[in-house]
Each structure stands twice: as C-alpha cells, then as structure tokens.
Amino acid sequence: MAIDLSQFYQVFFEESKEHLQAFEQLLLNINVKNPDDNQLNAIFRAAHSIKGGSATFGFSDITAVTHVLESLLDKLRKKELVLQTEMIDVCLQTADVIKAQLQGHVDGQPANASIADAVSKKLMLFNGQAVSQNSNASNTELDDGFGFFDHAVTADNKTNQDDDFGLFEPLAIANKPKINKPAKPEKIAENRRAAKAMDRRSSDRLATDGIAENSSIRVDVGKVDQLINLIGELVITEAMLMQSLSDLPANILENMSTSISQLTRNTRDLQEAIMSVRMMPISNLFVRFPRLVRDLAGQLKKEVQLITLGEETELDKVLIEKIADPLTHLIRNSLDHGIESPKQRKALGKPEGGTIILSAMHQGGNIMIEVADDGVGLNSALIIEKAKQRGIAIPSSITDDSLWEIICQPGFSTAKNVTDISGRGVGMDVVNRNITEMGGQIQVMSNAGKGCTFSIQLPLTLAIVDGMIVSLGENLYVIPLNAIIETIQPQLDQLKSMTGGGNMVLTRDEYIPIIAMHLAFNTPTQITDLCKGMLVIVESHGKKAALFLDDLVGQQQVVIKNLETNFRKVNGISAATILGSGKVALIIDVPAMIKIGQNISAQTKTPVAASLHAAHGY
C-alpha cells in the first residue's frame, strides 16, 4: 500500500487553523453563566474535528491533547459539569498548545511535549477522576515516540516535495512500533537508511518532474473562484440579452439571434472549461483512507480491507475538501460499529476479515459516493431504545430513512463506550448537516447482519445549476433540472382524490402525490384547477412528488446565490438566483418540498379536491 499523506498535510493544517479560530471565538463569546447549547455543541465539534483530522494524519500528540479537551467539553455539553471561567481559560491555553503543535508539524520541529502535558493535566483536573492517569501516561509515551519520528518524516518531506508516492512506506513502517524512549539507536539507524534511500530516489524523480512542471501551473484558488463568479455574471447578462431580443424589429432580429446563439455557445464552452479547472479526481481524497483504515483496524484488533472504486471520478475541488470530513466519519463509523471482531464474524459464518468498499461514480448531473461495509448493519432495536431514552419521537413505521433521521440527532450514539474513535454521538448530525449544506443528500441502506451502505449524492459543482423556470402566481421559481423526471398537464382521469386527504396523479402506472405549491407557499394564483396548470414530477431519496404549478417558463442555467448570506434558511427554498430580467428567483429545494408535501397533504384536500369534484360534476 503506497500512500502519501503528506500532500494533504497542508489542507489539514489549514482546516485545523480554521477550527481553532472558530473554537477560540466561540469560547470568547460564550456566556459563562448561561451558556447556549448550540455554542457548546459547536465548540465541541470544532475540537472533535481537529482530533479526527490529527488522528487521520497520525499527529498523535495533537490527538492526545484534543481527546482530553473533548472529554471535558463533552461533559459541559451534557451538563454534567458547569461551565466556569477558569475552564475557558484552560481551553484557550489548550488551543494555544494545539496551535504550537500544529506549527511544530508545519516546521518539522515538534512542539515540546511538556506543555501539552501541563494543559492535559489542567483539563483533567476539571474533568474529575474520570480520565485516569493511565491515559496521561500513554499520552506522554506517544508524544515522545512520535514527536521524534514526526521530525524525521517532515524533514524528508521537504526534500521530496509532493511527489513521493511509494517512498513514504519505509518510514511509515518504521514509525509503527511504539517506543518509549526516542533515542533507540537501531531505530535511528533504520530511519537514516530509509531517509538515504528516499533522497536517492527523490533526486531521480526530480529529474522527471522537471519536464512535467512545464505543462502545469499552480494557481491560487481565489483566482479561479473569481473567474467562476465572472462567468456567472456573464451567464446572467447573456440571459438578459436573450430576453430583450424579442423586442427588436424582424430585420435586426435575424442577425442578432445568430450572433447571440453563437455567444450562448461560447459562454457555455467557457463555463465548462473554467469548471473543469476546478475539477479534480476523487483519488486525491480516497488516498487518505487506506492509512486511516489500517491504523484503526489495528487499534480495534479487527481485520478490515478497504477497496476503493471509481477513483478517477472528477468533482469540484471545493466539494472534495468539504466531503473529506463526512467521509472520514462514515468510514470510522463503519469500522467501529459496522465491522464485527474476527471472532464474531467467524461465529456468524462470515470471512474473518471485513470489507469496506468506498466508491464514486457519476450519475446524471450528480456524483454518488458510497461507503459500504459487510458488518452488522444498523441495529434498529438498539437505536429505537436509545431514541426512547433520549425522548426522540419515533415514527410508527420504521424504515432505514427514519432510523437515519434518529441517528442524525445531535449527540445520538448507541455505543456503550466512548472511545478515541467514535461513540460520542457527534458525527452523524455533522455528516448530515455538512452534506445538506453542500446541496447533497445522504441515504442509508441497512441489511441486518449483512452490512450497511451509506450513499452520498452530491452535485458536481456548487456554483451553477441547470434549472427549469416555472411560474406561480406572480413569482418565478427555479427547479433544478436533475431533480425533474417529467412535466405533465394531467387529464382528469389521471387524477385521484384520496380519502385521507390530498390528491394523486397516475402517470406511467404509478400514483404520485400532488403538492399544490400555491398552498405550500401560501401564494395567491389564478390557477387552482389541477387540469389547467402543470405538474412537475420530481424525485429525491427515491421518493416522487408532483409539484403543481401555474406554468413552465423555460429552461436556463442559473447561478446559485446563497440566501443565507444576508437572510436565513427558508424551508422549501435552497437558494436564490438572478434571472435575465435582473429579478431574483428562488430555487426550490426538492427534498425539502417532498417532506413538506407529506405534512400538508391533508390540508391540500379542500380547495384542489373541490375543483376536482366540481369537474367530476359532483
């Protein structure tokens, strides 16, 4: 297994810096006498993310400190301890220590382990007896051993730059044995040998790199983002031009329309070209995981094989960075909770080694990333029991989706013991939130005893979406094209009114619930007769719904503008965009709409069904 994690160190350093910054800011803003739960959760999550990242990259000194920190924060969050100003002070000191440790890894000169010990002890004082001395002792051990070896690793990185694929292995192995004292002569000798070998090979490599270097340039992401923004504006301007075309006299119109359609083509090409600059193969991300899986499996004494598929699938760089944390969580989760111990597996008649399959593929305008394991699957009985304990409402019929909703509640965990790896109950809510923020969806398919699959569906890019513009009353809305299956103008015999409330439409031998948008959005419109308007059939999470709207206006690429920048999240709306006219149109959040539809279906009955009845001549 040849993995080079060093090329992601930079990302980890930057991410951790951001988390630390957020962590400090939250701590500084918190009201000590009456702390806000959300803030406590956010502080905890920041610490947790740093821990997760540092464990992935093997910076165990950071992991050790954050683990102690996290234990304290967890107690605060669960109200087992009362927040005191002194705690904030120590937490801030801890943040400084982590910062120093990070800087240490950046410079290749590990921070002094004694300062980490000092804050760990302070943290544990608040924590009470719960965190025993032995973890303290092991912390120091780890710090010493790794502190020394990290030095060597980073020093070698410098000579190799980024491209030391396959060169990393000897050192990684050399690192493995845990040693108490840094200065074991034979180890050092081993390291030196490895380092020498690397130097030699890397100099060979540099020679070939020289040629490759000419064909690519490093560009600041900010510049690419600026290009994408500009393209967005160009798309809007082009739409404006198209709109004003119709006002022109016929003779000019002809010339203009040919040149404008040329412009349209060019804009689209330009846009695709610029988008492709940001696209990166997902292998950049996947390569991080084999190490994680190996280390964790070793720690948990499990045998796990990680198979990655579809590594060449490309997606937006920003998305790759954002999906990293959620994916790490899912994989850790599969390892810890999913895959059983070799003994259990043998008893169940499964092969002793478990398998986790990590795959990526394109599906329409989306990308699908799956984490599948052949472990126990979701334990629905245990989940429901825990949910009852925590007072979470449990739906009458238990499906994978409803279990998933329970798992996604903040702080939910079925793990009996809180470990270094998982079980604190952060995670799934963060995973879900992160993915939803990216405009994606996550689905879980569990097969009790056979395994569990998490599927993440993500848009290819966050900047632009192909949309269908629809009208409702005096407003225009945009529905993402990839969510639309078809649009129909229903005939009377296709419509069925349900006794329990709501209407259904029969299309392609399937009954689909109708969501009357003017009722859901509380907007007055002239068209309330189902046969006079349009039904847009949309799908999300495998569920379909027919959105009842006035009319279709047209298809257009729209630039996604965040509504939350200056406003807040609105249920049923995912974002806003600016149309050719310069007016703002709202983009419909299809998954949310389908959910809303389930709630209001009872109310929709009256007016729409009334028109249906009237049409039937009742």
Binding site: D36, N38, Q39, N41, A42, E233, N475, A520, F521, N522, T523, K561, N562, L563, E564, T565, N566, F567, R568, K569, V570, N571, G572, I573, A576, I578, G582, K583, V584, A585, L586
Partner: protein, 163 residues
C-alpha cells in the same frame, strides 16, 4: 482649543434620521450603506408580512423589511418617495423600508437621554436613547440589536450554531 475639538470629535456620533408615521427615529450612520428608492421585491413563502422579500442589489441577494408594517403603522403606501435604507450589519446586508429619510445629525452623549420604560411599539432594549431635534423627540434605535433579534425573523436558531 485643539484638545477640546478632539474631545468633541471622539465623542459625537452621527445619526441618520428617518420617519415612520409621525415619529422620528435615528440610527448610527456607520451602519448605513446606501439609500435607495423602493422597488418590488421577490416574495418569500411563509415569512411574516413585514418581510417584503429579497432584491438583487448588484448581484447580492438582500432581504427587505418594512419597518412600518413591523411597528404596526396605520398607513403603509409604496410610492416614488418610499425609501429603502440599506444597512450593513455584522457581515449581513439588509434593507429597511421607511416613510422618508430626513437628516444627518451629530449628537454628543450629553444630548442623548436614557429611555423611559414606556415607548410603545419597540422593546426598550433595542433603543440607544432619546434625543431632541427641533423640539421633536428623536428615538435612537440600536439597529444592530433590533435586526438580530428573533422577532425580526431574519435569523433562525440554527444560525447561532453555525456562526
């Protein structure tokens, strides 16, 4: 002399004054980005009636609130004189609709008196104080506080978690 002027400079604050019905209000001028005439906004479903919707402000999506509706004024008309004050608050840009904008006033702390508890339509915690201008009462709003309050429906609970 120089010392005195410096003292004035550091202490006086400038306020933009505007009217809502018969009352005159003031907000810190440093929070004001620009003043525009009213243009119809895109309505957002299921929001309170005082949120008129969102507008396109040079490529940014900006929500517009009608303070007249929020403060339950009897007459709310939209004409050529209706004014939107675009505010810049803590990384957010929002617009408020008012009857008219009157003046910019420089006030030093002596001229601002504390708020008695009986100002009707607004909670006193959103007020900076009262001042007098041409023998008329001027209500100084803490616009930042007011706009970030739950009652303005501009923020929701989850915002606190992410920020």
């Amino acid at each position: 002399m120089v010392a005195i002027r410096q003292a004035i400079d550091t202490n006086t604050e400038e306020f933009l004054t505007f009217t809502l019905g018969t009352e005159t209000y003031g907000i810190e001028i440093l929070k004001v980005q620009e003043i525009r005439s009213f243009e119809p906004a895109t309505k957002i479903a299921n929001t309170p009636d005082f949120i008129k919707g969102v507008i396109n402000l040079r490529g940014n999506i900006v929500p517009i609130l009608d303070l007249r509706i929020r403060f339950k004024l009897a007459e709310v008309a939209y004409n050529d004189f209706t004014v939107v004050i675009i505010l810049n608050l803590d990384q957010r840009t929002i617009g408020i609709v008012v009857d008219s904008v009157s003046d910019v006033l420089a006030l030093n702390p002596d001229q601002i008196s504390p708020v008695p508890d009986l100002v009707a339509s607004i909670d006193t915690k959103y007020l900076l104080g009262l001042a007098t201008k041409d023998e008329q009462m001027l209500i100084l709003l803490n616009i930042e506080q007011l706009m970030s309050s739950q009652e303005m429906a501009l923020v929701d609970a989850s915002d606190n978690a992410t920020q």
